[in-house]
Symmetry: C2
Subunit: 360 residues, 2 copies
């Protein structure tokens, strides 16, 4: 009997903001089915949690980038925490029912994966970590923070580090790694008083600034009396401009995201660009995938810090199933989340029992 | 008897453009004198040629930078080709009359230098080179091109290299070094058809584009079918923006100058800044002084390329004496020059004979 599989597909281009309506909006619901038995060389996974990421808006635009855009009519691209619920006849010795993966399934309830794809994405969560860590601190989110701060930002003991989008999934990890690495001052920018309190009281940021305050530029200057050695940029726009104005000599600007600009019809360039010369700033854009060879070492460190409590995690789980994805994405751009935003498609309580009884 | 010494001092801040008038403008003429005998620990130099440089506009503004601004009332800062015409009584064994220096004398006819300053700036021009080379290809200009292209730009065999301000003193050297280093395509941007012809016909650039042409962006795109691996930026603004839009993966943007923006009341940031992420661009501002330890090796290479004819030089000498400096600077920003712009304060024919008969 076919397995009913609901999908959310990319229906029409945003113009330029995403329209979250399920009818007539950017995305549309599509009812499909997966035939059984599944192909001999595939595994069938059930999606439990879908990741919502700032990069998604860029995937909807046909610009030259590190990744091909999502095509109209395709299932919307997304990572997911998923469980193997079916194994093709030729793969019975390689996969077991109940194994967990973090896979690029897209916005749907089920997905068929090749053996190669499934193998690369097996989840190994260290003792003391939680299932959703595999898609946040121990997933691409944490890895992005790790490589952005250490490889691109080259953070040094005694540095002043500024993180924008600091209450977001990547930003909060970046700021905590900065503290672990001996930064003298870690300053976070976020968009609500609650987020700011969370950064200083829970995560150990030295200062948090609400960028919606009128005098945020003044606060930022006061928080960086020795200027900025490392800036971890998730937002672009005005905040990037202000940080350039406060760049220390030979500072490193790790450009991770530009969330303030993704839906702008006319993006804004940093007017303080001339500081690049006077302060010999290195500004480098990066993509986590370029560091794939170093993932194992990074995950070892991140896992250890998580277990030791040196990194605290926070997830923002949206209940409401697959159909909550489009509105969730709009909320993400509006800054609704503190921590990693995920949509719950099926709770962990509905997971099948792994035959190995493996923990997740 | 005192030596009459005319100076040009910084009189009032530009607002924001430089006003070249000698009365009521940005600068003013001041008549001073140097007493004889000169102090025992100084050398007296006579200035022959003064360098006009795009960085000068920035020195007039009190922004945080790599160098303190020139203060109102000070002699305008500038490098010069100068000759020792007097040696303090305690330095007779260290300096000889007639020795040549490239020294930061400022805009005046004569200057007193400390022994330390004078020693560091002795001119050594290789056989086959001309006196003015010491302030252009074999001076800070050539060194800026050298380190910008090789250390910051990391040019590789087969690269597409774009140089803006390509007919300027630094740009023309940068483009020629790119060819020496095996760049596949060297594309220059300049502001007149004559400059463009000069770049392709005399200097070996593969393509030259007049950025005043209406379709310059289209021409630039056509000239870079494999996108841009190294961009040597002298101008900022629109051209930097266009080059970012054409950045190749992992490209290097060496930010040397922003001549299009120095006199702008509100500088313009590059709107294509998001390409930094998608293409993992490294954008780095630099100052030649940071590479001082590597000057000897660089000068050896530049001297050799000059003698071998692999680098061609061109100077733009303004006759008219010291008073021609302010208007010369305005003309520099208007793009009047092809090659290194200098003001002749005293021709070489007026130099005193060196006692060593050393050549210059």
């Amino acid at each position: 009997m076919p397995i009913s599989n609901k999908q959310i597909i990319y229906a029409q281009r945003p113009a330029p903001a995403i329209d979250p309506r399920l009818s007539g909006g950017t995305f549309a619901v599509k009812q499909t089915a997966i035939e059984e038995p599944i192909p001999a060389d595939k595994v069938l996974v059930r999606i439990h949690y879908l990741s919502l990421d700032p990069a998604m808006r860029q995937w909807l635009t046909a610009t030259r980038s590190y990744i091909a855009p999502v095509e109209i009519g395709d299932v919307m691209r997304s990572n997911a925490i998923a469980q193997i619920v079916g194994v093709g006849s030729s793969l019975k010795n390689e996969f077991k029912l109940g194994e967990w993966l973090v896979a690029g399934t897209g916005w749907q309830e089920y997905a068929l994966l090749s053996a190669q794809a499934a193998k690369a994405q097996r989840v190994v969560v260290p003792e003391g970590c939680t299932p959703s860590d595999a898609m946040s601190v121990l997933g691409l989110t944490g890895l992005t923070a790790y490589f952005g701060l250490l490889e691109v930002g080259q953070v040094q003991n005694g540095d002043t580090v500024v993180v924008s989008g600091a209450a977001g999934a990547t930003g909060m990890v970046a700021g905590q790694i900065a503290k672990i690495k001996g930064a003298k001052r870690v300053v976070g920018l976020a968009g609500t008083p609650d987020k700011c309190r969370f950064l200083t009281e829970e995560l150990g940021f030295d200062t948090a600034i609400n960028y919606k305050d009128k005098d945020w530029r003044k606060q930022l200057k006061a928080a960086c009396p020795e200027y900025i050695n490392v800036y971890f940029d998730n937002v672009g726009g005005e905040i990037l401009d202000a940080c350039l104005g406060l760049a220390a000599p030979f500072s490193r600007f790790a450009i991770c995201g530009h969330i303030s600009q993704y839906s702008a019809a006319q993006p804004e360039g940093p007017r303080s660009i001339m500081m690049l010369i006077g302060q010999r700033v290195t500004m480098r854009g990066f993509i986590v995938f370029d560091y794939a060879k170093q993932y194992p070492e990074a995950l070892k460190n991140l896992g250890q810090w998580l277990v030791e409590g040196k990194i605290k995690r926070k997830d923002h789980i949206i209940k409401g199933g697959l159909e909550a994805c489009p509105q969730g994405l709009v909320d993400l751009y509006a800054g609704a989340n503190t921590g990693k935003m995920m949509v719950e498609v099926a709770p962990f309580s509905q997971a099948i029992q792994s035959k190995q009884g493996e923990r997740l």
